[in-house]
């Protein structure tokens, strides 16, 4: 058991030296940036199920083959397709003016002429959920709950419940429409979109048309409501849905030289929301994991012992559809997944190394973590999620880690049109690639693993 091993037995001095050399090489390598530049420029927005997402898969296959990866393939699946239409909100009385909104993913449509109603504001989702069924007949509800800026992204988990549940709670209350203060931390006027419940979730109840307001617009409504006159709004949303559309995961490998059946899974998601070009979410992740694998592939005399598998998940944004497809398609292989991790939290520097592994194997994480320290990455906790697309493999027992990016600014851009290439700092991106390269090499090469 690892508990009995000295660190130098887990990560030998020679392995450490190799990892450090790979990291140093990665800091100078531009593969990651070149990929995200290409993806965001030549494909741009790539919503799950669209023709643009299909073009992104073709782009990925071509790039991964050009880079020299093996076993490059698409694993197709289907996904419902939801697409925004007109999205318009305005105060009609007493202070007529337009508001800036974005339709929430999965929202039902209003009639073409919209719905109009008096606005009722709630300080939290819980407050809306507490009202009597049917007591808000004809109203438009507004959940004005503020998201807290945090470095580790923990503000998101709380805020996202509001995005998921408001439209359903509003329907129960009898409302005709619902608005939420954006799940985001920016002061610009783009509202942050995002999926309500998973697009594949067939158990959801009825809901009302719903949209997010930018923070300045939410502030504006709060001020307008403070005038103590009824505030009347009109909301027009005409999204359309289609039951089935093609999606898929793209997979590439560096086959292991000694234990090819043992998989080190590194992922990112290829789809994006429809308004930005998906640079920090998640073009950066695509660049980081691919760039790291490329550095390993090109700078070692022989491939590492285990197989390194790069997965670009499809249809993440609309409810982890690619993640589920992967876990199902590879269910018999999951016991050979040594570790899984996804880069899906932007491109700022990695500052923390979290794990979710057997307690007894924490010394293995410690030995690896020590190699990451010079990159400015400190030890974290043993409660990592591994990233959104690791949900199903994690639930199936695959150990996961998170190389946690600094998320301080991430939710300024997340799911808005502002998620564009210029927001990525190439030097910070390279630090990510370096950390991934060192980590992935060590796990693929070491004799230890993370299970009991």
């Amino acid at each position: 058991p690892a508990a009995g091993l000295a660190e130098a037995e887990i990560v030998t001095p020679k392995m450490r030296q190799t990892a450090e050399k790979l990291a140093a090489t990665a800091l100078q390598d531009t593969t990651a940036y070149d990929l995200v530049e290409s993806l965001t420029t030549e494909i741009g927005p790539r919503l799950a199920g669209t023709e643009a997402e299909a073009r992104a898969r073709d782009w990925a296959v071509k790039k991964l083959k050009q880079l020299g990866f093996k076993n490059v393939r698409i694993e197709p699946f289907e996904v419902p397709l939801w697409q925004r239409g007109v999205e318009k909100a305005e105060i009609t009385s007493p202070f007529p003016q337009p508001l800036y909104i974005t339709t929430l993913g999965g929202s039902v449509a209003t009639p073409p002429e919209g719905v109009e109603g008096d606005l009722v504001s709630f300080p939290s989702l819980a407050a809306l959920q507490a009202v009597r069924a049917g007591s808000l007949r004809g109203k438009i509800v507004f959940v004005d709950q503020v998201m807290t800026r945090t470095q580790d992204g923990s503000g998101y988990g709380v805020a996202v419940q509001k995005r998921r549940e408001t439209a359903f709670a509003a329907h129960k209350a009898g409302a005709v429409g619902a608005l939420i203060r954006s799940v985001g931390t920016s002061s610009h006027r783009f509202a942050h979109t995002g999926q309500m419940k998973a697009i594949t979730d067939t158990s959801v109840g009825p809901s009302v048309p719903s949209a997010a307001l930018s923070a300045p617009d939410a502030d504006q409504l709060a001020r307008a409501l403070s005038r103590d006159e009824p505030l009347r709004l009109r909301l027009t949303l005409t999204p359309q849905t289609q039951a089935r559309a093609p999606s898929g995961n793209v997979i590439a490998e560096i086959p292991g030289r000694e234990r090819p059946d043992e998989i080190v899974l590194i992922g990112a998601h290829l789809d994006s929301w429809d308004q930005g070009t998906g640079a920090v979410d998640d073009g950066a992740g695509v660049g980081i994991v691919t760039g790291a694998a490329k550095v390993i592939m090109d700078n070692l005399r022989r491939a590492p012992k285990r197989t390194i598998r790069v997965v670009y998940f499809g249809a993440e944004e609309v409810g982890l559809v690619g993640a589920k497809a992967y876990a199902e398609a590879h269910s018999r292989e999951l016991e050979n997944h040594i570790v899984g991790t996804e880069s899906d939290f932007g491109a700022d520097k990695i500052w923390r190394f979290d794990t979710r592994i057997a307690e007894a194997k924490l010394p293995v994480a410690k030995a690896i973590g020590d190699v990451l320290l010079p990159l400015g990455i400190g030890p974290g906790n043993n409660e990592a999620s591994g990233g959104p697309d690791m949900k199903y493999v994690r639930e199936a027992g695959v150990p996961v880690v998170t190389l946690l990016q600094n998320g301080w600014d991430y939710f300024d851009l997340h799911h808005t049109p502002n998620d564009t290439l210029d927001k990525i700092d190439p030097a910070k991106l390279a630090q990510n690639v370096a950390a991934y390269a060192a980590f992935v090499y060590l796990v693929a090469e070491m004799d230890e693993d993370f299970r009991e």
Copy 2:
């Protein structure tokens, strides 16, 4: 002549003390913030000639009367009305994706289905103007000239030529549409709107439909063009115009106690662009000049010697239409205008005191400037514009000054939806009010003036 006067004779110790007391009071006064809060919340966007601008005038009359000003009135005039419609741009080939644009004020419309053409990029307006007439038949031109961030706003003068001239130069070249990189300094995805040539300028030649691209979109086009394939765009703009619509200037006064015919003119503009709520441009100015006059009115035993006239200009954004109407309506009075100044550069702290007065009267400016120094305001040059709406009175010989705000961030917000109340820092706004209160009091009270 002032040149012979000691500073203490221009601004007596007692006047200085009063000015300092007014400034200190202004730093605690919330009138300015309350006004901009009210204007941006209860009126919101107020484009020249619209019903919203008319509501803003009614709001202004009511507020100015409530505050205790005298001779509150509207001086009406007419203005052509231009309103944006659909605005859509997309790369159709080889990298299909939407772009974020804003129609430039005064742009002509495309057909409803838009225009499509290959994109031709120019590094500057001059480069476009240098092409042979008719040589860009069927193309869409793109002037990719970057605006420089400066503290004093000097980057704007250069950049704005591109906004004014591109559509006309593009027409001469035979193009079917024109795009410019936004006149702005932000990295968000809102393009900055603004008027091309003055809406009242009947001498303008033919032009093509034209829009501004956000900086990230301009970057995207530059990258896409670097792929060496023809880049095809579709541009759809459906603005509408109407020959005449009502506008007006709103005027209020503190009559002078000794020389009521001599006017100290302080202005701001009441209209705004249609996408933000006109907080920094120019709700802030409305608050600053009114707040300053209010502090003077409420905190002196007697009114100053000269009349303080507050003017809210209408239809500034579309080409200084209110400024011209004012200069015409008051032409016989202009020789009694002691000084004119407008606050129209946001709400960051004032850092410099510029003048355009007789050389011989620079000691008068120096004496006033010394009172402003403790507010962090240093001496500037003698080439002030006085603000956009001072153009015609300045040209008629009225001395002008500029209490110059720090414009470092101004063009991040200017003419975009992001120009909202949350961008105003009440403490910085109060510093503006303090500077205006001290300056206006001194000029209204002193025996000197700024002319030879």
